[in-house]
């Protein structure tokens, strides 16, 4: 879940369009050829780290805990918001997984008592339809649900349940020609989701997110070993972009952030940090920060909770 997903609840009972999309996408991706699926974002030679702001296309046994972010809201005067969140993802089969996420929020607004509480509970069902090793390509479809009335409205939790059919993808540049070897460590992951609240009064939103990555591990083990220290070869500098655009039941500007940062990936966990830069005044004030610790449960417990159930 994006840490900004919860900023885009919605409204309206007519969700047939969204459900139809969710039902159609798996059929589309299943028509393509695919390769065996590895866990936590590995396809062929490519390791996609778990991105912080936008969800990645991997179906995996993993745990993001904790994710801590702080930023100034778009209010005037701005409030200081702190979120502490977590997400647990479990593979049901090698390609089908489910995740559950939650967050605790504290909002400190000038001239107002400090408010704190939990955001709505979120769940996501994901199916990885394409894992093409030669082209380092992953395509996954999912359905996210933000469960209304499970959080505290004082910190922005919506009373309305919202469904978000989502398309996820990841593509590595490892299939570029040898003459462009320096560019092979590049990869991009992305999400495109349409949030449909089950209430007529809240806006539907188009949620998009992208992560542009450069894998130092890929550089050192596939292209050229520059003799850098191991810890440097475990880094992935990246820039994430997260956008939310109201499309129906209420107008408003596109909001979002650009988040440059870096992820260090070890054998069993990764640690990442990013700056949070609002794209406009409607998205926030000043620069925030987000830090995440992410655990590879399939590597920590390969013969127990790190395996698919079926």
């Amino acid at each position: 879940m994006s840490i900004f997903d919860r900023a885009a609840p919605g409204a309206r009972p007519a969700v047939a369009g969204g459900i139809a999309l969710a039902a159609t996408l798996p059929a589309l991706v299943m028509t393509f050829g695919s390769s065996p699926v590895a866990a936590h974002g590995i396809v062929g030679d490519r390791f996609f780290p778990a991105t912080i702001t936008t969800d990645d296309p991997a179906v995996a046994d993993e745990l993001s805990l904790p994710t801590v972010d702080t930023f100034q809201t778009a209010d005037d005067p701005p409030a200081r918001q702190v979120d502490i969140s977590g997400e647990y993802s479990k593979r049901l089969t090698s390609r089908l997984g489910i995740s559950i996420d939650g967050a605790w929020t504290e909002v400190d607004a000038p001239g107002a008592p400090r408010a704190s509480g939990f955001q709505n509970l979120g769940t996501t069902l994901k199916y990885q339809g394409i894992a093409n090793a030669p082209h380092e390509l992953m395509v996954t479809v999912g359905l996210g649900v933000d469960w209304g009335r499970t959080g505290d409205e004082r910190v922005g939790a919506s009373p309305t349940t919202a469904l978000t059919p989502t398309l996820y993808f990841g593509k590595g540049a490892g299939d570029l020609p040898e003459s462009l070897g320096w560019a092979k460590p590049f990869a991009v992951t992305g999400v495109i989701g349409y949030s449909v609240p089950l209430s007529a009064d809240e806006p539907r939103t188009l949620n998009t997110g992208f992560a542009f990555e450069y894998s130092m591990r890929y550089l050192s083990s596939h292209v050229r070993d520059l003799g850098l220290p191991r810890v440097v070869n475990q880094l992935t500098p990246l820039v994430e972009v997260s956008l939310s655009t109201p499309t129906a039941n209420g107008a408003g500007p596109t909001t979002g952030t650009v988040n440059p940062g870096v992820i260090w990936s070890g054998q069993h966990m990764q640690i990442g940090a990013e700056a949070i830069i609002p794209i406009n005044a409607a998205s926030g004030h000043n620069v925030g920060v987000v830090v995440q610790v992410h655990w590879f449960l399939d590597d920590l417990f390969p013969r127990s909770i790190g395996r698919p159930i079926w």
Partner: protein, 118 residues
Amino acid sequence: MRALIIGLAVALAFGQAAAAHAFLDRAEPKVGSRIAAPPTQVRLRFTQSLEPTLCVVKVDGPAGFGGAMAAQPLGGDSRVLVIGLRKPVPAGRYVVRWRVVSVDSHTTAGDFSFEVRP
């Protein structure tokens, strides 16, 4: 959230010993390198212990290359595979393709090249 934390703590307390995916850590000749002297072997060091019998490494070279022997584990270090090269090892570009299985059964694969230019 509290249940999540408790669940993780229980799992950490009672889970089995952890292993992980094996990634290529170092290679000799180095990945992407250009060397003057023909090598007698390729040595691959991974980030995890391997199941050597399930690992496959292929080395392709220019015309006249004598070929590569089967990958063998380095005695005493289950993270290292050694692939002997049969003579002749002429000048040219060599491509090493590996597919390994770590001790916890995770499979990873990759490739890289090096060049011999006296």
